[in-house]
């Protein structure tokens, strides 16, 4: 019936989790049912649809976060954040449907006579993974979670001159925000930048805090002398742990997808370590903070 009242509308957000939460906030505030929630970059206009650019508001995002956490619990909120970072076109709209499902007043499930359980602290809408409003989001969140795990496995750091560490990656979802905490605590004595070349997003850890820099314009020094030695040692080790009679490249590809190989030290040819380039080549919006070693030590 909404279609009769409103013309079709698409919400465009900035691709961040806060952006998607702001879009969800708008859907409630404006009493609208958008047909698409997607990012500006991915949006393809449809006939008879007008687009609304959603301004990211941390305050609105926090209100939505509190609401979801209160009504549906932490895992449900986490799933929405994961979905926000997905490259799936329909992730935004699936997230909205899921949030509406979580927030809907208690009702008897229309699919069967089973009553929806009382909302207590243990209520988790994700348990109902066969529900048409839950299953699509669950799938997306799981795919993003898997990609996050792949990054925990396959991100490779290089030591640059001047003591900064740098990792370049190409994940299929914008998962850098989801891995920063892991690497920041684990490598805490070592400042680093993780750069996602697909989503042009840099995660920066300066040994005190981590933060994200979209479309970062950075000049990085070259890899250190030691870096070449260690990378060579790693390649050597990699070549020597394999057992020839067990050769099974299909199995390897299943666990370590080929699309990720180009950023894996052990799959690169000798001498391909980082030469110190400007990244990315255009479109700078923000600058890396000046107190980082790389800023002090430009090429």
């Amino acid at each position: 019936m909404n279609e009769e009242v409103y013309s079709e509308i698409a919400y465009l957000y900035d691709g961040s989790a806060e952006g998607l939460l702001s879009a969800i906030f708008s859907a409630y505030a404006r009493h609208e049912d958008p047909t698409d929630i997607t990012t500006e970059k991915r949006y393809r206009p449809r006939l008879g649809q007008h687009a609304l650019a959603i301004e990211t508001s941390v305050e609105q995002a926090l209100r939505v976060e509190r609401g979801i956490r209160r009504e549906a619990g932490d895992p449900a909120f986490e799933a929405v954040v994961y979905a926000a970072l997905s490259d799936d076109e329909a992730a935004g709209i699936k997230a909205l449907r899921f949030v509406r499902h979580c927030m809907a007043p208690m009702q008897t499930s229309h699919r069967s006579a089973v009553k929806r359980p009382q909302r207590n602290r243990r209520y988790n809408p994700l348990d109902d993974i066969t529900h048409p409003d839950v299953a699509p989001l669950y799938e997306i969140a799981r795919a993003v979670g898997n990609e996050r795990h792949r990054m925990l496995q396959f991100i490779r750091f290089q030591e640059l001159e001047g003591g900064l560490w740098f990792a370049r990656c190409n994940p299929s979802a914008s998962v850098v925000p989801l891995v920063m905490e892991h690497f920041a605590t684990r490598l805490n004595v070592q400042p680093f930048i993780i750069y996602d070349e697909n989503h042009r997003l840099a995660g920066v850890w300066d040994k005190a805090d981590w933060y994200l820099v979209p479309d970062a314009d950075m000049q990085l020094p070259a890899a250190s002398e030691r870096e070449r030695e260690v990378a060579a040692a790693w390649r050597l080790f990699y070549q020597h742990v394999s057992i020839d009679p067990r050769y099974n490249p299909e199995l390897r590809r299943q666990f370590m997808p080929k699309r990720l190989w180009r950023n894996l030290t052990e799959m690169q040819a000798e001498g391909s370590s980082y030469k110190g380039v400007r990244l990315p080549d255009s479109g700078s919006r923000s600058e890396i903070r000046a107190d980082l070693p790389l800023a002090r030590n430009p090429e």
Binding site: R186, A233, P249
Partner: protein
């Protein structure tokens, strides 16, 4: 000799130990220290044979005074170059790899240089550098060398997360034949010591964790490290000696029971040295290894008992269907189960329903009764499971007769081991030419040996 050369030799020598996991312990990061560990472990790479690389797996040295027939490092093997890492070299390399996210930590094993105590002391020095000087909080797996004095094993255990003593051969008789310098007593002594010390350590730590005063908001600071917090494991070589799967699983079962082992690893025998005592077959028994892992998994996570999986009358696991399907086919009276009412234990017995799927079913059915459409959305292999379940009273396995033979045909799953390499299907069990005298003895005999060798 430079470090690269050493790495090459000592990684090559360590690769036949298949244990490579960083699981079993959660250690959060600490300010100013490097690293942490997560309970599920994390694989950082995969080799061309599809095996996971999670730890820097090397030997401290491949110099060895022993002459175990199946081992590349045996003292009589003149073809292999010998090398040794200094503790400093190895600690530095571990840290360098760790900082680049190549690895979760170190897996340190060693040939016996001079004597077991001297060897273990070298390993202790390496680990002490890592833990104390570099404040390394990543994962460390250390091998206990049989014959090491108990004090040194203890010291090593406080530095490592996991320890292992490799049994390698599944019976005392085979051990005596192929590893003449190691007695079974020497192998079981450190295993027993680690298991006892570990439970003792856990008890005392649990005590200190308890609040003792009303003011005690903070837990009592524990300065010392836990003893082998991720438990111990062992490895058995499959196919070098004539023991059957029955013998191996019996042994596995008693190892889990008697020593509270976390894992038993199986390694299909690969001929690395020529020895008249060993089979020189070209094919390696990878399919057999695969089935043993499946059976082992059922023992550890699915509540199966050894005698449910294998019987002395049929001492080898079925290569055609997996051990769980095999059990189901022999117990058709247990099925079909109604997914909406079956207990977790029952669901875990259904072929096609894994541990994750079973738990998802329990969660999902709280919200709505599950039919075929819902089940397909849950992470189970519905195509296999449907022969053994009903959903809302409906049996979905129509098309197949509910008999062991008909269902077996549906459940047949060749082990997909890839198209390369010298795969196991070329090996016919019983083809082994070794121990012609031994092989003629009834299997029963070997298995009673097995039990006798456990203290």
């Amino acid at each position: 000799m430079d470090i690269l050369e050493k790495l090459q030799i000592l990684a090559d020598a360590a690769k036949y130990d298949v244990a490579c996991t960083s699981s079993g312990i959660d250690r959060s990061a600490q300010k100013g220290a490097l690293g942490g560990a997560s309970v599920a472990g994390c694989c950082h790479s995969f080799t061309p044979d599809g095996r996971c690389v999670t730890l820097l797996k090397v030997l401290q040295t491949n110099v060895c005074v022993c002459d175990c027939a199946y081992c590349v490092n045996r003292s009589s093997n003149a073809e292999v170059q010998r090398a040794a890492f200094t503790p400093r070299e190895l600690a530095d390399l571990t840290i360098a790899f760790y900082r680049r996210n190549y690895i979760e930590g170190l897996f340190l094993s060693s040939g016996v240089i001079q004597n077991p105590d001297h060897t273990t002391e070298l390993m202790i020095q390496t680990l002490a550098l890592l833990r104390e000087e570099y404040r390394f909080r990543g994962y460390i797996h250390a091998k206990a060398v049989p014959g090491t004095s108990p004090e040194l094993i203890d010291r090593l255990g406080f530095l490592a997360d996991r320890m292992s003593v490799n049994l390698e051969l599944p019976s005392a008789k085979s051990l005596a034949l192929l590893a003449p310098q190691k007695s079974t007593r020497e192998i079981f002594a450190p295993m027993r010591q680690i298991s006892e010390k570990r439970s003792e350590d856990r008890e005392t730590r649990a005590l200190t964790r308890r609040k003792t005063t009303y003011y005690g908001d903070k837990p009592i600071a524990r300065s010392n490290r836990a003893y082998v917090p991720a438990g111990q494991s062992t490895q058995l070589i499959i196919g070098a000696t004539p023991e059957s799967d029955y013998d191996i699983l019996q042994l596995t079962g008693s190892l889990y029971e008697n020593f509270a082992l976390k894992r038993v690893f199986y390694s299909a025998y690969i001929p690395v040295v020529n020895d008249p005592l060993l089979p020189q077959t070209d094919a390696i028994q990878l399919n057999r290894e695969h089935r043993l892992y499946q059976a082992d998994w059922l023992l550890r996570f699915y509540g199966f008992r050894t005698d449910e999986l294998i019987e002395p009358e049929e001492p080898f696991l079925d290569l055609e269907v997996d051990p769980k399907a095999n059990w189901a086919l022999r117990h058709l009276d247990f099925f079909p189960l109604e997914v909406n009412t079956a207990t977790l234990e029952e669901l875990l017995r259904v072929p096609g329903i894994g541990a994750r799927g079973a738990r998802q079913i329990l969660r999902a059915r709280k919200h709505s009764a599950l039919g075929e459409a819902e089940l397909k959305k849950i992470g189970i292999a519905y195509k296999r499971a449907r022969y053994f379940i009903t959903c809302k009273g409906r049996y979905e396995g129509a098309g197949a007769e509910f008999s062991p033979e008909a269902l077996r045909a549906r459940l047949k799953a060749p082990i997909d081991g890839g198209k390369h390499g010298r795969r196991a299907d070329k090996a016919i069990p019983g083809q082994l030419s070794l121990f012609s005298s031994l092989a003629n003895e009834p299997v029963k005999h070997l298995s009673s040996e097995n039990r006798a060798m456990l203290p």
